[in-house]
Symmetry: C2
Subunit: 81 residues, 2 copies
């Protein structure tokens, strides 16, 4: 069960950011597990972040962006945020 | 006491984002309390976010940016992230 309801995230910001992370990760040919390990984020948590089921924190967004060799602001821009 | 130690946030990402929020808020002449109320963030929590003492979540960053009539990616860019 997602912890974030669509009522709380009505504009689907988390879904958009998760999709942007996934798109960039896939473009670089890295598995979700490898990205999670490299970023130091729990593998299960990374899956939930990519599906927009968790309210990702700034420090995790920074870690994920660094692991993908980009800036956190790039990820948000790509998510349209 | 800050909940986020400098060890966890060694590159001071949270401090940088908090400073960027504060700078933009001050440039628009809005008080911290007014911004907190407008964004729907607890006033005490907003102070801690501006001081980099809390690991701000994406949804709160979105709410704060919307309250300042800008994009979350703008805030991160201004923070150098």
């Amino acid at each position: 069960m997602p912890r974030i309801s669509s009522k709380v995230d009505k504009d689907e910001h988390l879904v958009k950011v998760g999709a942007a992370i996934r798109a960039r990760r896939k473009a670089t040919g890295v598995s979700q597990e490898a990205l999670a390990d490299y970023a130091g984020v729990d593998r299960s948590h990374m899956g939930k972040i990519e599906r927009g089921e968790r309210n990702v924190t700034l420090l995790n967004l920074v870690r994920i962006a660094e692991a993908m060799d980009c800036k956190p602001s790039d990820v948000l821009s790509e998510a349209g945020l």
